[in-house]
Subunit: 144 residues, 2 copies
């Protein structure tokens, strides 16, 4: 069911410092900060040859990552995002298997304009998992 | 400098349960457990179309991930591994930039038989970063 790893999201206390580390120290391709007020984050994309790192910083007092940074002041890996071809089918399969979808269980439009949902970390080895629908091309076996 | 994301390593308290979640619930391609006594871990590889997830479980009392699982009993993301073409050059660039290499600073042979080193999480936004030398093909710009 899951396809590519779309991105690894890392919450950071200082977006400028983290961007400089990835650009200057690690020599990666680092984009400009983008405010996503509807998601309560400012993001910087680090583009690797096979996937992306998303550096996340809180935007606004209601940011969903404020609590995470309070617990992890130096920053830390916040979630993994896997691509799926059909998020409704994914949700049905997951809930049938007993996995808990966060929120009201319905997909929302995520930071890339695609439907996303988040799974309860306790159901996935302590890892917050985001699923993002990217269309049928996400699953090689579905394209054949 | 860094190339592909080689893998995301997730420490898990129950390797069989985590393997079943990734295989049956998330529908991913999951390998058989491999004991790596020289690294103090048993690993299961989850192969995604563009990268790998490494599920890690302690092997032996001196396992380097025992402490992590004591702090994170449900499991959690342990480290990210980026590929580099030349680990000696990477180490020199990093230490010149003030980043701390764990241990004695010399690359070791990692779980895939390639030279690896680990960087101090405090220098990289709370993320434990592994660098793995995979040869010149790791950096597209170096191959041209």
């Amino acid at each position: 069911m899951i396809g590519k790893l779309n991105h690894v999201a890392i919450a950071v206390p200082d977006l400028q410092a983290a961007s400089a580390q990835y650009r200057d120290t690690l020599g990666a391709q680092v984009g400009a900060p983008q405010d996503l007020p509807e998601h309560g984050v400012t993001v910087v994309f680090v583009t690797l040859p096979n996937t992306k790192i998303e550096l996340l910083h809180p935007l606004g007092a209601d940011s969903p990552i404020v609590g995470f940074l309070e617990k992890n002041p130096a920053g830390g890996i916040h979630h993994l995002c896997y691509e799926v071809a059909d998020i409704g089918a994914a949700r049905d399969r997951l809930t049938a298997a007993g996995a808990r979808v966060l929120g009201d269980g319905e997909p929302k439009i995520g930071a890339h304009g695609n439907p996303v949902l988040f799974l309860h970390p306790k159901d996935f080895t302590g890892t917050l998992v985001e699923l993002e629908e990217v269309g049928k091309a996400a699953e090689p076996e579905a394209a054949s």
